[in-house]
C-alpha cells in the first residue's frame, strides 16, 4: 500500500504549527492585545445572565445596537432554542447556545430496524453527519438582536 497519506498528515500538522509558531494564537500575555474579543470572552465568563442593564453611554448613542450580551429564544417544529448573543460595536462577536431543547416526534422513530435501535445507546453522544446549518437558530439570534436594538441612538 502506498504511503502517500504521510504528505497530507505533514501538511496538516505544519498548518497547525504555523499558527502557533507565528505566535498568532494568543498566549495568556498576548490576550490583552486582542481587546474586543478578550473583553467579550470575559463578559461571558462572568455574566451568565443577560446584561441588558439599559445604560447607554454617549459613545453608544450612534450605534444600531447596544453593546452587551442578550438572550433570545427561537422555536421550530422540533423544539425551542435559547441563545446568548454578544454585541460589540455593532458586530456580533459571539453566539452561545444556552438551552437546546429539541425533540424528535415519536412517529419519526417508529419502525426502526433492530440494528439501528441497538446503536441508539445512550453512550452515543456525537453524530457525524452532513454539516447541519444554523437555520433553526436564526429566529433566536434575531430575537436577541431585537432586544439589543438601540432605540436611544
Amino acid at each position: 500500500m502506498k504511503k502517500t497519506d504521510k504528505k497530507w498528515i505533514i501538511l496538516c500538522s505544519t498548518a497547525v504549527a504555523a499558527v502557533y509558531s507565528a505566535g498568532y494564537l494568543t498566549t495568556e500575555n498576548q490576550v490583552s492585545i486582542e481587546q474586543p474579543i478578550h473583553q467579550v470572552a470575559k463578559n461571558i465568563q462572568t455574566n451568565n445572565k443577560a446584561v441588558n442593564d439599559g445604560s447607554v453611554s454617549n459613545a453608544q448613542k450612534n450605534k444600531l445596537y447596544k453593546d452587551g450580551t442578550f438572550t433570545g429564544t427561537g422555536m421550530n417544529r422540533r423544539g425551542s432554542i435559547d441563545v446568548m448573543v454578544t454585541i460589540q460595536n455593532d458586530k456580533i462577536t459571539n453566539v452561545e447556545i444556552s438551552d437546546f431543547a429539541m425533540h424528535y416526534s415519536e412517529s419519526d422513530i417508529v419502525g426502526l430496524p433492530d440494528e439501528v435501535l441497538k446503536n441508539q445507546g445512550a453512550r452515543v453522544i456525537n453524530v457525524s453527519g452532513a454539516t447541519y446549518s444554523t437555520e433553526a437558530f436564526e429566529d433566536a439570534v434575531q430575537d436577541a438582536l431585537n432586544q439589543a436594538f438601540n432605540t436611544v441612538g
Binding site: 500500500m1 502506498k2 504511503k3 502517500t4 497519506d5 497530507w8 498528515i9 501538511l11 496538516c12 500538522s13 505544519t14 498548518a15 497547525v16 504555523a18 499558527v19 502557533y20 507565528a22 498568532y24 494564537l25 494568543t26 474579543i37 470572552a41 461571558i44 465568563q45 441563545v83 456580533i92 462577536t93 459571539n94 453566539v95 452561545e96 447556545i97 437546546f100 424528535y104 419519526d108 422513530i109 426502526l112 439501528v116 446503536n119 441508539q120 445507546g121 453512550r123 452515543v124 453522544i125 456525537n126 453524530v127 457525524s128 453527519g129 452532513a130 454539516t131 447541519y132 446549518s133 444554523t134 437558530f137 436564526e138 439570534v141
Partner: protein, 293 residues
C-alpha cells in the same frame, strides 16, 4: 464541561472530560472557540470584511495573509492539484449563484464580481512571502477545509485534557478517552432519517467528517446541494453520504468532499490509497466500506 456556540454557519459543541479546575477548563475551551472565530474571520466568503474577501478585491497583486487563511488555502490547492481540479476552491461564485450567499447571523447577502471561467490555477500562493495573488476576479470557497482546520487548532488547545470532543455540526475530533475511560463512540447519521444512525464507530485522537447531500439543499432546485462539481456545475448524486476518518479534521473534511465528488468506486480507491477509513452510502442505501471501518 460542555459549551455550545455558533460559528461558520453551524453549531460548534465542545465537551471536555477532566479533573482539572473549572477556571482552567473554561479558559482552554474559550481559546478553542477563539480558533473557530479566527478561522471564520479569515476564511468566510459571506463577510466582506474577512481576510479572504478583502484579499480577493486585489486582482493581480500579492496580498500578505495570515496563517489562518494561508494554511487552509494551501491545503485546498494541494487537494485541487491532486484531483486535477475536481476539488476546486474557486467554486465560490457558483455557490453564491446557487443561493449559498447569505450570512447566517446578519442575513446580509453577498454578490461578488467574477470572471466567467476560473480555476484553482488562478490562485497563486507564495510560501516565502506568505502572500496570495489572484489572477482573475473570483470567489474562494474554503467550506471543505476551513472548518476542519479550526477543529484541528481547537484540538491543540484541549490536548492536555483526559478527553474531549469537538463537534462542529457533524465534523468531529475526538481526543483522549470518554468519562468511562474508553474511546469515544461516534454515530454516523442515516442520510434519510436524521435521528437514526447507520453505524457507530470508536475513535480516540482521530477525526471524522461527513459530506452529504441531505442537509443543505438549494431552495428552488432540489437536485443542487452544497457540494458542486466545478466541471459540470452540478451536484453529484452518486452518493448521499461520505464519511472519512483521519488523524486530522482538515484531512477528513477535505477527503470526505473528494470521495463524495468521486463517487463509489474511485472514492473507495482514494480512501484506501491514502490509508484512511471511510464509509460511503449510495442513494439506495448501499454501504461501501473502505480501509477496514
Amino acid at each position: 464541561m460542555r459549551i455550545t456556540k455558533l460559528y461558520m454557519d453551524t453549531v460548534v459543541d465542545i465537551q471536555v472530560v477532566t479533573r482539572k479546575e473549572v477556571k482552567e477548563v473554561e479558559e482552554k475551551i474559550n481559546r478553542a472557540f477563539l480558533a473557530f472565530q479566527r478561522v471564520e474571520e479569515a476564511c468566510s466568503r459571506f463577510s466582506p470584511s474577512s481576510e479572504l474577501m478583502k484579499a480577493c478585491q486585489d486582482v493581480g497583486r500579492p496580498v500578505e495573509i495570515s496563517p489562518y487563511l494561508f494554511e487552509p488555502l494551501y491545503f485546498a490547492l494541494q487537494i485541487a492539484q491532486m484531483t486535477n481540479g475536481l476539488f476546486d476552491p474557486t467554486i465560490g461564485k457558483v455557490m453564491e449563484e446557487y443561493g449559498f450567499n447569505r450570512h447566517y447571523l446578519t442575513g446580509s447577502m453577498i454578490n461578488s464580481p467574477y470572471a466567467e471561467t476560473v480555476t484553482y490555477q488562478e490562485i497563486l500562493l507564495n510560501q516565502a512571502t506568505r502572500t496570495l495573488t489572484i489572477m482573475k476576479p473570483l470567489v474562494i470557497d474554503l467550506g471543505a477545509v476551513a472548518k476542519g482546520f479550526a477543529i484541528d487548532l481547537a484540538a491543540r488547545e484541549l490536548i492536555d485534557f483526559e478527553g474531549f470532543v469537538i463537534n462542529a455540526g457533524g465534523d468531529i475530533f475526538a481526543g483522549g478517552l470518554n468519562e468511562m475511560g474508553s474511546p469515544w463512540e461516534i454515530g454516523i447519521q442515516h442520510p434519510y432519517q436524521r435521528d437514526l444512525l447507520v453505524e457507530t464507530i470508536k475513535l480516540s485522537n482521530e477525526a471524522i467528517c461527513t459530506s452529504g447531500s441531505y442537509e443543505r439543499k438549494n431552495q428552488t432546485n432540489p437536485s443542487l446541494h452544497h457540494i458542486v462539481n466545478p466541471n459540470t456545475k452540478s451536484s453529484p448524486n452518486h452518493l448521499v453520504s461520505s464519511s472519512i476518518v483521519a488523524p486530522f479534521a482538515m484531512m477528513a473534511d477535505a477527503f470526505s468532499t473528494v470521495a463524495f465528488l468521486l463517487g463509489e468506486e474511485k472514492g473507495k480507491e482514494v480512501i484506501e490509497e491514502l490509508n484512511l477509513k471511510g464509509l460511503l452510502i449510495t442513494p439506495e442505501l448501499k454501504i461501501i466500506r473502505a480501509g477496514g471501518i
